[in-house]
Structures are given as structure tokens and as C-alpha cells.
Symmetry: C2
Subunit: 328 residues, 2 copies
């Protein structure tokens, strides 16, 4: 099949980042000029930010997340966990923009032999999590398909001009993360509590924010690259989870905290002089949500580093989950 290899590049050949890059070019090449002024943040952040009408006092954030059997969860997974994860991912994206959840649509795909009870359990859990964060499921669609899938479309709301983006960090700021990191696939990736209240509270406080879906190392790089800064993590301060300490295989707990995906915690920056006050207040507002100051932003654009307890600095390599992983 020489022809296929030479002439027909596949998604596997260029990987998720390659696909994303090409599609963004396509979107840019066919702009929708009449809407330019209404699109405050386009593709590339946790959610798009739009100004819904001239003069409106609020903005909306729009995000979508797929949850697919065999990709985002194993075939034997409890359906309630699938429903929870699907809504949780959307809530985490809304939180990462500093917005309040508002509305959602659900696209369901399932094969004909799927038990009705499975779909009911899934929707019950999805609806429960949504309602607990004031996210109203207002519609959607359904179709027969080869595997069980949920595609959830979420709308969040926040005062005009207050969305917290990933491209707005500056050098010399403090870097914080909520919760603990690593080992999510033991349990947390199906049962996490999205940081919705924390994210909305950080609106007007954090200078930049992102949710951790691809792993700390990768998402810190996303934030750094978008902002045109570097990041130096302080090894001793990383909140390594219990699960990360008990993962099978050869990775160290620290490696799991750095590289495991689906923590669904919030990573954010803040001017350093505001950091002590924020830490103090946080303890009172969110006594049950751990907050760790884990590093600083630097002016070495694109460099992601890691400082050991002994003061030695190491470069953190790219190493992340990617849909359609590239060959090389």
C-alpha cells in the first residue's frame, strides 16, 4: 500500500495537534466577517467567548465535549459514571473560563442493542450533576451509531469582558493549582467534582486559567505558549495525589502528577504580590478544596522547567496523550 503511505496522510500520521492546526487554518481562511466583533475568543481556549448582542452586559462561553466508549471510558463502565463524566467535562471547561454554568444540550449516540436502563442511568447521573451546578439541560438530539457516545454542548455566562483566558498570563506571576494531581484513571476521571464555584470565584482575580484535561505538563505548556511566557514548576510543591502514589508500572508518583491526564483541576496565574492574600482568603471560602502554589511564570517564552528540591532545574519534555497519536 505504498500509495496510501506516500500520498494519503492519515490522522494517525499528523496526530491531534496536526489536525487542530490545519482545521484552525481552514476556519481562519473562511472567516465570517459579519460576526467578528461578536467573537471575543475563538478556537483554542477551553471555550469560545461571544458577546451575544450589541450592548449586552454579559458574555457567553460555548464549549463542547465528546465522551466516547472505548476512548473516554471502557465498555464495562457504570453508565452513571459516564453521564457524570460527560457533564463534568463541560462544567470544567465553563469553570476554566471563570463563567457560571447556564444551559446544555446533549447528543446521544447508541447502538440498537443498548439496554434502555443503561441510557436511563446515564441520563439520571448527567441530569443530577448538571442540576447541582444550575446547568439546565434544554435539549439535544439522538441517533443510532456504532458505540455509546455523549456529546455535550454547554453554555456559560459571565459579565461582559470578564472571561479568564489562557493567553493572558505575564512573566513573573505566581502559578496555582487546585486539588491533587495524577492517577486520575484509577477513579477520579469518572467521579471528579468540577471546580465550578472555584472557577467563577477566580473571575476578576486570576490573570489566566486553564483546566487540566491533558495533564499538568501539557496544559501548563498550553497556557505558557498561549501567553508567550515560560513556566518554572517547583517540584516540592506539586500536590501529588494518593492515586498517583499507587499507580502500577514504572512511572514515579511525580511523573504521574506531571503527565497523567483528566485531573480536571484548575491551573491559574496571579500577580505575585496578590498571591498571599488569595491563599489566605481561599482557605475560608473553599475549606474543602486544596490550593497549591506550584511555580512561577518566566520570560523564557516556550520553556517549561522543573526545579528540584536541591535547586537543580530540568526541562520538562513534551509527553502527552493525543488522539490519533503520530507515528514517529
Amino acid at each position: 500500500m505504498e500509495r496510501n503511505v506516500e500520498n494519503e496522510k492519515t490522522l494517525r500520521d499528523i496526530g491531534e495537534a496536526g489536525v487542530l492546526s490545519r482545521l484552525r487554518d481552514l476556519l481562519r481562511a473562511a472567516p465570517c466577517t459579519a460576526k467578528d466583533s461578536a467573537v471575543l475568543v475563538g478556537p483554542g481556549d477551553d471555550a469560545a467567548v461571544i458577546h451575544p448582542a450589541p450592548g449586552a452586559d454579559h458574555d457567553l462561553v460555548l464549549t463542547s465535549d465528546p465522551v466516547i466508549e472505548g476512548v473516554h471510558f471502557e465498555p464495562g463502565t457504570q453508565p452513571a459514571a459516564v453521564g457524570h463524566k460527560a457533564v463534568g467535562r463541560v462544567l470544567s471547561d465553563i469553570a476554566a473560563m471563570g463563567a457560571d454554568p447556564a444551559f446544555a444540550l446533549v447528543d446521544l449516540v447508541a447502538p440498537p442493542h443498548c439496554p434502555v436502563s443503561k441510557i436511563e442511568s446515564l441520563f439520571t447521573a448527567a441530569t443530577r450533576l448538571a442540576a447541582s451546578f444550575n446547568l439546565a439541560i434544554v435539549g439535544g438530539d439522538m441517533a443510532s451509531g456504532p458505540a455509546l457516545e455523549l456529546h455535550i454542548f454547554g453554555v456559560g455566562r459571565l459579565p461582559h469582558g470578564t472571561a479568564v483566558c489562557r493567553h493572558t498570563a505575564t512573566a513573573g506571576e505566581a502559578l496555582f493549582v487546585t486539588g491533587t494531581l495524577g492517577g486520575s484513571r484509577r477513579e477520579k476521571h469518572l467521579a471528579f467534582a468540577p471546580r465550578v464555584r472555584e472557577g467563577a470565584w477566580l473571575r476578576g482575580r486570576a490573570s489566566a486559567m486553564i483546566d487540566l484535561s491533558d495533564g499538568l505538563a501539557t496544559d501548563a505548556r498550553h497556557l505558557a505558549d498561549a501567553s508567550g511566557v515560560g513556566i518554572r514548576l517547583s517540584g516540592e510543591t506539586l500536590p501529588v495525589s494518593e492515586a498517583a502514589r499507587h499507580m502500577p508500572g514504572k512511572g514515579t508518583p511525580l511523573e504521574h502528577a506531571l503527565y497523567d491526564g483528566e485531573d480536571f483541576e484548575l491551573l491559574f496565574t496571579l500577580p505575585s504580590n496578590q498571591a498571599p492574600a488569595l491563599e489566605e482568603t481561599w482557605q475560608h471560602v473553599f475549606p474543602d478544596c486544596r490550593l497549591n502554589r506550584i511555580g512561577i511564570t518566566t520570560n523564557t517564552r516556550g520553556r517549561l522547567e522543573y526545579e528540584n528540591a536541591d535547586g537543580r532545574v530540568h526541562t520538562i519534555e513534551k509527553h502527552a496523550f493525543s488522539h490519533w497519536t503520530p507515528k514517529s
Copy 2:
């Protein structure tokens, strides 16, 4: 596998309507009370209608549509046609509410061996159709999965309180349909022009509206059931398409016009005394879009009838495509 048959009802057993009914009950049982006042139209219409913020002078319509290989298009279909259809379905839903297209997100699912060029062609066509109707694609997500799928989430906008719903027809109104009907799967289902301008123009004019995705007979029933009226179609006036006249198999052209899905035309009602003026104006505003007055609404709730040229009236039976078609 006696157990499965007896105890575990599958989606195939209860069909799409059965699944929809159960999920709507679940959504109702776990309401999101804080949002009730903002949700003007929930599940059950072509799109949800929400009031995005207190005092806002506009409403938003939210809709989502899946397009799945092997379900909504055959595996060999040109990727550009797939992209066109996916965006077209969302535009048709927005049009059916009388709204103006505004924003969209695209979830892409594809297997690793999918050629990059296929995805590029698909996105180029999707972006072109979207831009031509001022629909800005502002984000989305992508994932590896078993088949090629697009899930498009669309947001439309219209002045507060002006959405055209399917539950607001009254008895004795005139019934209109755009374009011609039947035989869509020959070509039109992949290449249709969504009636976006027509739908927005009908805002403030039509009393109720729906787009034809499941076939005239089925969608007319949806409109009639939602409005609590009956419908009598006038056989001679049905705009049977050329494609419907050349379909293989034993169905008559009229049967194809009544029952074939995916026409993506607009079906709407209007007080009878306003019908002549609308027909007159329509010819000037939309000289290229055929409009036919095809019947009336009646006060016989739930009855869908068909009047022959000789004046005889027949009842139209239920007969439609359904995902997870029920057994019996």
C-alpha cells in the same frame, strides 16, 4: 439469552419515540429551578429557546445535530457533502425557529486511518456553508472513534419573545410548505439549501413552524400534536419533487412526498385571512423559492388527513424513519 429478552429492554425494543419520552421524563424529574425562567422552550421543538440574561432584548435558540457515517450518510459519500449536510441540518433547525444564525461549535469524531484530506474537504465545505449564512464556527472538539461523525451545535438569535414554535398553531389556519417534497435521498439530503432567509422572514408572520426532517406526514403530525390541532392536506397541492417521481421501488410519487425524510423544507401555518397577502409578497421576496399552500389546520386534535382531488378524505397513517426502530 432469555434474560436479555425478558428483563433488559433495548433501544430497538422501544424505538426513538420511546427513548425520547423516557428521557424527557427524566429531565423533568430533575429540574434546574434556578433556570426555569430563562428557558422559554425546552426539549421538543426544533431548538431550545432561552432568554440569556434578565432584561436582554433578544433570545437565543440552541440546537444540535449529529451526522454519522452509516446512519446519516453512506461510507463512500464525498466528504464535502458530509460537511455541507452537517451544517445544513443545524441551519435548518435555526431557520425553523425564525432565528438568525450566529455561532456554532463542531465536534469531530474519526478513526485513526481516516485521510487528513477527507477531514479538510469536510471542514472546507462546512465552513463555506456556515459563512454564507453568517454562522461563525467558534470552536469545538475532536476525538478518535469508530466511525466518521460530526456533531454540530448551533446558536441562533432573534428579538425577545419572537421565536416561531411548533405548538402555536390554531384550528382553521392555512398550511404552507417551501420547495418540493420527496426523493431527498437521491441527492438533496446532501446538497439542500437550508431555508435560512425564509425562516427569519417568517418570524412575526408564521403562527407555527417546523422543518421537514422526518417527512411531511410525520413532521405535520409533530406540529399538529404539539399545537393540539388536526391537519387536512389537500392532495392536489402537494409539491411533489422530480426526484420523488423517479424513485425506484413501489411507492408512488405522492407517497414519497408524504413520507420521505430529509426534505429540509419549512412547514408553517398562518391565519387564513393573511394567506393571500403572504403568497403575493413571497413571490417578490423569494422568487427562487417555491411556496405552496397545502392544507388547513382543523379542530380534530391528532387527526392527520389527506383530501383527494375527488373530495374523498383519507387518514394518513404513522409511517416514519426512527432510530432504533421498534420491533412490532
